[in-house]
Structures are given as C-alpha cells and as structure tokens.
C-alpha cells in the first residue's frame, strides 16, 4: 500500500491504535454494565439501560459535544484527568474515549445476550465444588460468555474504525494526534477533489476490519470446536 501518503499512514496507524484501545478499554466496563443489566435487580435499571444506549440514540455530534462539555480542558472532569496525567481533550486518548463511548452500547448488548444465555446451573455446580462467586465468574461464566465478549470486541473495534462524528467533535481532527481514518475520510469528502484520497482510506478501513473480523471468526470457531458445540 505504498500509494498511501505518510499522513495517511499516520491516520491508519492511529485509527488502529484508537480502535484497539477503545475496544479493550471498554471491555471491563461493558462487562460490568452487561452484568448489572443481565443479573442485577436494582431500582433504576431501566434508566441505566437507557443511559448505556444513549450514544446509539443521540447523533454522534451530540455525544461529542457532551464529551467536550464533560471532559473539555476547561471542564472539572477534564482538569482532574489532566492533573492525573491523563489529558483527553484533543489527544488521541480522547479519541479512544469517544470511540469507546460510541461502541459501548454495542459491546454491552453483545455481552449481555451471552450472559443471559449462560446456564446458571453450571454456576451452581461450581459453587458446590468450592468455587467462590469471583472464581465461578472467572472460571465458568467468563469462558461461557467468550462468544459475547469476542462479538463485543469486534463490534467496538469496527465501530471505532468508523466513528468520526463524536471523535471530530470532541478531539478535533489533528494529524498524528486525533485524525483517524474516519475523520480523514470525512475531511477529504468535505474538501473539493478529496474523493480519491477518501476512497483509498475507505479501502484501508475495510481491509482492517476484514482482518479483525476474520480473526474473530477464527477465534469463535476455535472456541466452538473446543466446546464441541
């Protein structure tokens, strides 16, 4: 792919990094949220579910603005994180946050569906064999929901590759820092004569996601074979 310019390569590398980080970063939170929704019985469960789905319902730009309002350089949360050495605004870390937030509802739903399909009787069995709740979770529940985790990761990764509305709104479109493939494509499409560059990047994006998908399908097939299902 020598037909990509250095700036474009930069965007590809950044997108990849952002997508991987976003997918992995949101995994534990997605798991926690999915658990709460699948197993929890607490007041406000419906509202919590709505909150999780919000990034799906809102136009991405709105989500981006909300992130900007919450984590911008002049917002208290943003300042706090900055002081803690994790600046977000207009950094690639912010792009990760934006992508993670946008992919969150997808990840939560995938994990939740898997969780709801877990045979609780196996967890009971683990308990009678001496496994604490944490251990049961780690050794029984987690492996059994692996398909959901994998699906969640794939969805979050793919979404992160395609996401630009919230990203560009929250962290702008700064080459090498926050200009992901999607932002670049968008910028190219807005400028006169940017189509060819946009098409090139689109193809790269498709290739990246295809690779991720094939990897995930292969992993899923291996898991299924191991379970013998």
């Amino acid at each position: 792919m020598s037909w990509l310019g250095p700036e474009e390569w930069q965007a590809v590398a950044l997108s990849f990094r952002v997508a991987i980080c976003a997918a992995l970063l949101s995994l534990p939170f997605g798991l926690a949220a999915a658990w709460a929704l699948a197993r929890g019985r607490f007041p406000g469960r419906g509202l919590f579910s709505a909150l999780v789905h919000l990034p799906l319902v809102l136009p991405p730009v709105v989500t981006g603005y909300l992130l900007l309002l919450a984590f911008g350089p002049e917002a208290p949360a943003g300042r706090l994180l900055d002081a803690l050495g994790l600046p977000l605004a207009f950094r690639w870390t912010g792009a990760v946050l934006a992508a993670a937030v946008m992919g969150f509802p997808l990840m939560v739903r995938a994990i939740r569906l898997s969780l709801e399909a877990v045979d609780r009787r196996l967890e009971e069995a683990a308990g009678t064999l001496g496994a604490s709740r944490a251990r049961t979770f780690a050794t029984v529940t987690l492996p059994l929901i692996a398909p959901g985790l994998l699906a969640g990761l794939v969805l979050a990764f793919a979404k992160a590759l395609g996401e630009f509305g919230a990203t560009i709104t929250f962290v702008a479109n700064i080459p090498g820092e926050t200009r992901t493939i999607a932002s670049a494509i968008h910028a190219f499409l807005q400028a006169p004569g940017g189509e060819t560059a946009a098409i090139r990047l689109t193809l790269v994006s498709i290739a990246l996601s295809l690779a991720a998908l094939l990897l995930s399908e292969w992993l899923a097939a291996r898991m299924a074979r191991r379970v013998g299902a």
Partner: protein, 363 residues
C-alpha cells in the same frame, strides 16, 4: 459430624417442603416418589435454595439459620453435590472438570486419589475429551468423580447410578462403602433402587409431597412391615449384622448370625469383621421343618413375630431369628396352608445367591 436439617420452603403455590431430619456420619437415604422433593432438599442443604425458614447445621454449627440471618454461600459450606443431571463444564476437558473443585478450593493435586477414582469410574479414556460428546452414563460418571475429588465434608448424591449399568454400579458401590466407613462424613443418597439403598444406607428418610413420611435406621425401616408398604412391598427386607467367618475353597464365606450361619459368595471383608447382610422379604422361603436335598444352603431358625396382610395376595411375615429381625413375604394361601401364627417356629430358607454383592455391606 452430623447434619441436621429443619426447614420450610414454598417452591410454588402447589408445592412446599417441610422437613426435618438428621444425617449422622454414614449414608442417609432419601427415598420417595418422583416429585417428592428429594432434589429440592439437596439444593437447600447445598445452599442453592434459600429456605423461607429453618436451620441447617453441621455438628450444631449453622450453615443456614433464618432466625439468626445466617446463610453461608455454597462454596463456604464445602458440601459436595452430584446433581441429577451431570452439569459438566462444557468448556473444560474431562480431566479439568475432575480437577475443578480441588483447584477452586486450593487443595493440592492428588494424583493417586485421582487415578483411583478415574480407574473406579472407568473414565480413563475420556480424560482429554470435552463433555459434549460423552454418553449419558459417561457424563454421569465424570460428575461423580468431580464431586468425590473435592473431599467434601458432606456428600450428596442425587440418583448417581440412574444411567449406569449393573456392572458399573458394582464397581462404584464398594468405593462409596469405603468412603462411608472410613471418611466419617454424612452422605445423603437419593435413589429409587432399594437394593442400593439397603446396601449403603444406615438411615432412611421416606419423603412424600415435601414431607417426611417416615424416618429411621435402615435395618428397622426395612424390616418393619408397615414401613415396607412405603418402600414398596417387593423391595422390603431385613438388614442383619453378621460376623465374617471362614471362607471355603469354593468361594463361599460363612457369615455367622445369632440365628444360624449363612454361606455367602463374594464376601471381601476379613474374618471377624461385622458386616450387614440384606435379605429381601421376597427371597425368603419358610418351611415348617428344615428340609433336605435342597440347593439352598442358608437356613435360619426363626419365630414368627407378626403377620401383616397387605392389599394384594401377599402376607408380610415378621420373624425374629435370635436377636435379629427378618422379613418374609409369602402368599396368603401359603400362610394359611402352613398355619403361620405368631410364636410359631419356622425355618427361613435363603438362597445364597439371592444375596448378591449389592446386598452385602463392607468390602
């Protein structure tokens, strides 16, 4: 170590458990028809159901006490439970299923013990397989092994042999007997097969519709003509305790009872050992005087203690043979023809081979 259970729990508008019983070390059989509540009791004891009310204690220490607000989670109870279905972990190999409990409990690996259990259960060839392709009986055996390897302080077995062939049962029963005799742990055993129950259990709890219908020592329950009705008349029988004597060249071992001597095959306990011998009521023939020229070697002199007419054409005859109680089931016609009456002296004839290993304790 003794388990005490007293609980009340409503499972549905139509079904409520209300039971109280004790299980001392040794085997306590839960017996009862399908839907009587056996599995639910095991679930409650294991901590998988939280009873509406009650107390479950081990040597007086509660694992559950609704009044005191105590409810230990299952893993802190350290009670092993072999469920009615195998419930194997589909993502782990058979070997890792077997080792699951020890690892969870932080117990050291026990290769010798594991090898012994694998050998006994005949699952050596399955170790590297996943559970999904196992046959019904294979899965059941792995589930038994998995629970045994955790070295629980209480063992619960829910129809563990339902899908196993007789030969396989014969290989597992001696193991359970050794466990019962040497580990000193209470074992709750659910089974529909009375021969197994009679062989293993020291106590029987008969359940019906969520309630304890009758409970007591196995020997008494099995020899009690009234309890026999609950257990099923064809299954009734007595459990006598005998002293092992000499074993002859032909493989028959003398077992001395106060009322006489039995010659039994397949006795593995050493000379001098005291073992329980189950004699099913339907395997006993009564004779007014000791007959001759008969293929049956075992005859005991007994006295008729009671006569119970059941609903069918049978009569359950309670006998005392020295200090032991024996049950015989004969037809009413025979009872009449023989003039059976309380106090009459009779000879009880038992075929040696009618007492198979399944009815023999010890081992």
């Amino acid at each position: 170590m003794t388990l005490s259970v007293a609980l009340r729990h409503r499972l549905s508008p139509a079904f409520a458990l209300e039971v109280a019983f004790d299980a001392p070390p040794g085997v306590t059989a839960l017996f009862g028809r399908s839907g009587a509540g056996k599995s639910s009791i095991l679930r409650a004891v294991a901590g998988l159901i939280r009873p509406d009310e009650g107390r479950i204690t081990v040597d007086g220490a509660p694992v559950f006490d609704s009044a005191a607000g105590i409810d230990l989670p299952p893993h802190r109870r350290r009670f092993g439970l072999v469920f009615q279905e195998p419930r194997l972990f589909p993502h782990l190999s058979v070997a890792r299923n077997l080792r699951y409990g020890r690892r969870a409990l932080g117990l050291p690996a026990a290769p010798a013990r594991e090898a012994e259990i694998v050998e006994m259960l005949g699952i050596g060839a399955l170790l590297s397989r996943r559970p999904s392709g196992l046959s019904g009986g294979e899965a059941a055996r792995v589930a038994i092994g998995r629970a045994l390897l955790t070295e629980p302080r209480l063992l619960m077995l829910d129809e563990p042999f339902a899908s196993l062939d007789a030969a396989r049962r014969e290989e597992i029963l001696p193991y359970l007997e050794r466990l019962r005799d040497h580990a000193g742990l209470p074992i709750l055993f659910v089974s529909h097969a009375l021969p197994e129950v009679a062989r293993l259990a020291a106590r029987i709890v008969v359940l019906g519709d969520g309630h304890v219908l009758r409970a007591g020592p196995a020997a008494e329950m099995l020899a009690d003509p009234e309890a026999a009705e609950l257990l099923g008349p064809r299954e009734a029988g007595a459990v006598l305790t005998g002293t092992v004597g000499a074993t002859a060249e032909d493989g028959l071992t003398e077992v001395h009872l106060p009322g006489g001597t039995l010659h039994l095959p397949g006795v593995t306990a050493g000379e001098g050992a005291r073992i329980p011998v189950r004699i099913a009521a339907s395997d006993v023939i009564l004779a007014l005087e000791p007959p001759r020229g008969l293929s049956a070697l075992n005859m005991l002199r007994c006295r008729v203690a009671s006569l119970h007419r059941g609903k069918g054409p049978g009569v359950m005859v309670g006998l005392t043979c020295g200090p032991d109680a024996l049950l015989a089931r004969v037809t009413a016609r025979s009872a009449e023809a023989m003039g059976l009456a309380e106090g009459l002296e009779v000879t009880a004839i038992v075929k040696s081979v009618a007492i198979g290993p399944a009815d023999l304790g010890g081992g």
